[in-house]
Subunit: 260 residues, 2 copies
């Protein structure tokens, strides 16, 4: 139709339906009644429910009824629940990405990236409940790959190494995103009347983890380091910073080796 149609429809159709929607590849039809619903509204509603009540509260019927429609009406817009989940993550990955080339070094910029990832996962605790179905293939998700790649642009790394590095960094973000989300959840749950749950398993572990069976773990459990009984949120933050700095150190060392 439009002149610049160099598109290979076939390969685009190979994308999951959710991805096709995210890329705006699904042409709105002209015939028939105009839909009162829309993919955007559905995803928005689903994200809202997930934010408020967790991912398990997101069922097709729940989303539909929250919009005042029947369950099945959603399937006019979305092929499966998996597609909805994909679109939820995509919607939430629409975050501002800093401009290129400020005066900051790559370490600083990678820290910002990781921070942004973690912030995203904490703002939407359900984020990491959605399993990774594969390599990112939707626009905003790919922005989240392009961003760190841009940061690495001028480093003396091969393209494979750059991808490896991004995988390393984003994997670390995700892993800690999970941990921090769980911590947030625990704290929320810990605010319950049963506040003694601070120790919870700490005391039990102190009885079960013997120096004979767990020689290296024992002193750590005994000292309360394992269960972090002091309830100090800072500890987890320290863990996180420590690991990140080790990773950045490792990258820096590799880069400096490559330079010589």
């Amino acid at each position: 139709m439009s002149g610049d149609d160099t598109r290979d429809e076939g390969s685009l159709n190979s994308l999951p339906h959710g991805a096709q929607l995210a890329w705006g590849l699904v042409k709105p039809s002209t015939r028939g009644p105009k839909g009162e619903l829309s993919v955007g509204k559905i995803v928005e509603a689903a994200v809202g429910i997930a934010d408020r009540e967790g991912l398990s509260a997101v069922s097709m019927s729940r989303v539909a009824s929250s919009l005042g429609f029947t369950t099945m009406s959603l399937y006019r817009y979305i092929k499966s629940k998996d597609d909805l989940l994909m679109l939820m993550t995509e919607a939430v990955c629409d975050i501002p990405i800093p401009e290129e080339s400020e005066g900051k070094g790559w370490r600083e910029q990678l820290r910002e990236y990781v921070e942004a990832c973690i912030r995203l996962m904490r703002a939407h605790p359900w984020f990491t409940d959605i399993p990774i179905m594969g390599v990112p293939i939707t626009p905003n998700n790919l922005k989240m790959v392009d961003w760190p790649l841009r940061i690495l642009r001028d480093l003396p790394l091969s393209e494979y190494e750059k991808m490896s590095t991004v995988l390393l960094i984003s994997g670390y973000s995700r892993f800690y995103g999970v941990i921090m989300r769980d911590m947030d959840r625990a704290i929320e749950a810990g605010a319950n009347p049963d506040s003694f749950s601070g120790l919870m398993y700490g005391e039990a572990l102190r009885q079960l983890v013997t120096p004979e069976s767990y020689p290296a773990l024992y002193p750590i459990v005994a000292a309360g380091v394992y269960t972090e009984d002091d309830g100090n949120k800072g500890e987890a933050q320290d863990d996180f910073d420590f690991g990140l700095e080790r990773i950045l150190d490792g990258i820096e060392l590799h880069v400096s080796r490559a330079r010589t």
Copy 2:
């Protein structure tokens, strides 16, 4: 009863039922008919089903009927499905752990640890489908914490730093375990008649990822590095090794700093 009863029943009862079972804290009752079923058999059956057909095939009724019992009979042995999942991971974490103090350095030993973790996750692809419910609290799972701690024993790190390091390493294992499992799955699915799925999304992404919107990602997608179109399993292995070496480098740098 037995003389050495210094146990605080209360705190042990605070453990989830699955953990109590794993630690052998649930006394078998004497009264009543002896059970034909057992927790061990149930978990074994569940693991078998998961290995063969994936975690989604593991339902209470499926497990029960595979053993020739009714669904509800399982609940005589296990309180909830969550407990079953916990016991499944626990069962599978029962792997041989190398003796202490061989001539190997800590880097080498940590590599072995990570390899073992990955091997575990590939042998049981459902492993990472089970969400982490919290810090490990079951015997074999704790062995998987004690092991790397042992490796770090003689390094000049505080206990907090050691825990942070273990978290870093095991988090990396888990992240890559997920990736490799997904890769295995894709290869298995790719063996289907529709074998052209080798490219799958690669071709589509090459159309969608423009140099304007994705300046840093574009060359990588264009070169086929992003989707690893060559189907070479070695690439992912390279990614993995690269990241691991960066992490080990980072730890080494930190240690050498601490030494001075």
